[in-house]
């Protein structure tokens, strides 16, 4: 065991109570390597240890299980042929458990996944401000840009975790009830299971990019208020409003400006060859929203008086 007293190269062991209390070694302000990773780990631990977040993940994971069981009980042929992406995926479940993951993602992308990201991102700054721990962190000091970066990284990782959980639970439930088989693409060709799993990974990343953009919006809202619940509700409202506007075809003029417009295009990853036009637009929209709102959050938080 090393104690501070025998660690001669240890900046923190130098006591200011020595004969020259006014001079402090330069090294006291030197950055310890890996400090940002440790803060991010601490942040993730904090997020994952919250009951609320654990319950949220559980709800996300239940959906694919419910889909798989529902199809099993109904005996397949659940699709009424109305042709939506979700119906098409659900309709394919009976033949191949692989589609449970896709069906679950397409069901949850409308509300549950945005809700999860809204809860995480809304809490990011406003939550710390609300309990007063924000001032404690800032005087440590954690420079504001670094705090914002760590908070956003935690939101993005949380979103990816949520997507991965839905996909993996979907695969497991599908495999258990229907088995996993080579996948018939939307174009009619057949992909080997390995290639199909790669496509599923890309779907996950595509959905993750959407959620990261929404998380940027949430991060910005979170810097505006000291009420985390208010920030969360605002993000859910915006997200849901965009889905609604996007579903009104008379408003097609504004559709390209909506973050959600091209999100269901993840299904294009299951065409052969992959149809990339909409995917590209979708990623571009994600990037634009992400850059705008992360910048706005940074501008707002960097200059704000912390009076909480």
């Amino acid at each position: 065991m090393r104690t501070p007293d025998d660690t001669t190269d240890d900046a923190t062991a130098d006591t200011t109570a020595d004969s020259v209390p006014h001079r402090v070694p330069e090294s006291i302000a030197e950055t310890v390597r890996g400090a940002t990773w440790r803060l991010l780990r601490s942040e993730l631990r904090l997020v994952l240890s919250r009951r609320r977040n654990q319950a949220g993940l559980a709800v996300l994971a239940v959906v694919p299980v419910v889909i798989a069981i529902a199809v099993k009980v109904a005996g397949g042929g659940a699709s009424d042929g109305s042709g939506s992406t979700t119906d098409s995926f659900v309709g394919s479940v009976a033949g191949n458990g692989f589609f449970v993951a896709l069906a679950a993602l397409s069901v949850e992308i409308g509300l549950f996944l945005p809700l999860a990201v809204a809860a995480l991102s809304g809490d990011a700054i406003a939550g710390e401000a609300n309990v007063g721990t924000l001032r404690g962190l800032l005087v440590v000091p954690v420079p504001r840009t670094r705090l914002l970066a760590v908070k956003y990284a935690a939101v993005v990782l949380g979103a990816l975790l949520a997507v991965a959980l839905v996909a993996v639970v979907g695969l497991v439930a599908g495999a258990a009830l229907f088995g996993l088989h080579p996948v018939t693409t939307l174009s009619g060709t057949t992909l080997g299971l390995g290639a199909a799993l790669w496509r599923l990974l890309l779907v996950g990343l595509y959905v993750g990019a959407f959620l990261a953009a929404l998380g940027a919006l949430g991060l910005f809202v979170s810097t505006l208020t000291e009420q985390p619940m208010g920030a969360t509700i605002a993000v859910v409202l915006v997200s849901t409003l965009m889905w609604i506007l996007d579903s009104i075809s008379q408003l097609h003029a504004i559709h390209p400006w909506l973050l959600v417009d091209k999100q269901l295009a993840f299904a294009d990853l299951l065409r052969d060859p992959v149809y990339t036009a909409d995917l590209r637009l979708g990623l571009l929209t994600d990037l634009a929203y992400g850059v705008v709102f992360v910048t706005a959050a940074w501008a707002r938080f960097g200059s704000r008086d912390v009076t909480s």
Binding site: T15, T16, A17, A29, R51, R135, G136, V139, V140, V306
Partner: protein
């Protein structure tokens, strides 16, 4: 502010001002906290102490004026200065569902200049110092107000500091807890740490302070070594007599300042170095019927009340 002053001061502000809308919460104050001192930052609630402290620590941006903390300009030098400063701002605030220890570990992890190898040791040492080691594993939400306050102080003590800024550290503590905080400040002072401690109650911190600054309605109305702040208030002699006019005449003849004679019972004058016995003798020789003679020596408390206007609404 001369350069020499800048070197000797742990905290120096110049014309520091913060306006919220039209109202100036802090109005052009020149704070001077000497290195190695214990500076009692006094003032009624709402007089601008916490806003000042927030500006010192870079939480709030000044509307005007400058802050120099440990020789570095704030907030520009924030990353190099603040690791040497321990701070408790406006009461303790921690994550309620984490234990006391986990909360401190989180703050230590957040300090990118703190050595992770010594983290556990330093966290326990800080908890020990405020006598919370026994409750380290308890969730913060289960802490009493006093324990919360002590955990806040422990967070400021996670590392060896050159300067401690403690905002109302005795708030909510019982007399025993207040005594312990005073003892802790005294011990830190003995180690050479500069302490800036704010309070709205003079009596709670008076004994440990070497210097005082008194705020009133956003202005710094007095500042200096304790004796200087107290000394600005002079002892007053009061003669109780049926003939106040005659008594006042004698006091004036002796050269006492601000002599007043009220109604029919007494005369007063500022004693200023005149020996009490001489004054009494002179009164008797002059045939003034003396029924009572009292010297009022204003305590620091009186001085504080005098400076802060005393009571609510005094600043309206």
């Amino acid at each position: 502010m001369s350069e020499r002053d800048g070197e000797d001061l742990a905290v120096a502000t110049s014309g520091l001002t913060k306006r919220f809308g039209a109202q100036a919460a802090v109005d052009g104050i020149d704070l001077a906290v000497p290195r190695g001192g214990v500076y009692g930052f006094l003032g009624p609630n709402g007089s601008g102490k916490t806003t000042t402290i927030r500006m010192l620590l870079g939480l709030v941006r000044p509307s005007a004026g400058t802050v120099t903390l440990l020789g570095g300009p704030m907030p520009d030098a924030l990353t190099t200065v603040l690791p040497r400063v321990g701070a408790l701002v406006e009461g303790p605030a921690f994550h309620p569902y984490l234990s006391g220890r986990a909360n401190l570990v989180r703050l230590d992890v957040a300090d990118r200049t703190a050595d992770p190898r010594t983290s556990a040791h330093r966290v326990d040492a800080a908890l020990e110092r405020v006598d919370l080691l026994h409750a380290a594993a308890k969730r913060y939400r289960a802490y009493s107000l006093g324990m919360r306050q002590r955990l806040g102080i422990a967070a400021a003590l996670l590392r060896d500091r050159e300067l401690l800024v403690l905002d109302e550290p005795t708030n909510g503590l019982d007399p025993q807890g207040t005594r312990e905080v005073r003892a802790l400040i005294g011990a830190l002072h003995a180690e050479g740490v500069t302490v800036l401690v704010s309070s709205h109650l003079l009596s709670e911190i008076e004994q440990v302070c070497t210097h005082l600054g008194v705020m009133r309605a956003g202005r710094l109305v007095a500042q200096g070594a304790v004796a200087d702040v107290r000394g600005a208030s002079r002892p007053v002699a009061e003669v109780t007599t049926p003939d106040p006019a005659a008594a006042a005449a004698v006091l004036v003849r002796l050269g006492l300042a601000d002599v007043t004679a009220d109604g029919g019972t007494s005369a007063r004058g500022v004693l200023d170095g005149h020996a009490t016995e001489d004054v009494v003798a002179a009164l008797v020789r002059a045939g003034v019927p003396v029924r009572g003679f009292v010297v009022h020596r204003p305590s620091l408390e009186d001085r504080f009340i005098e400076l802060t206007g005393g009571g609510y609404g005094a600043d309206a």
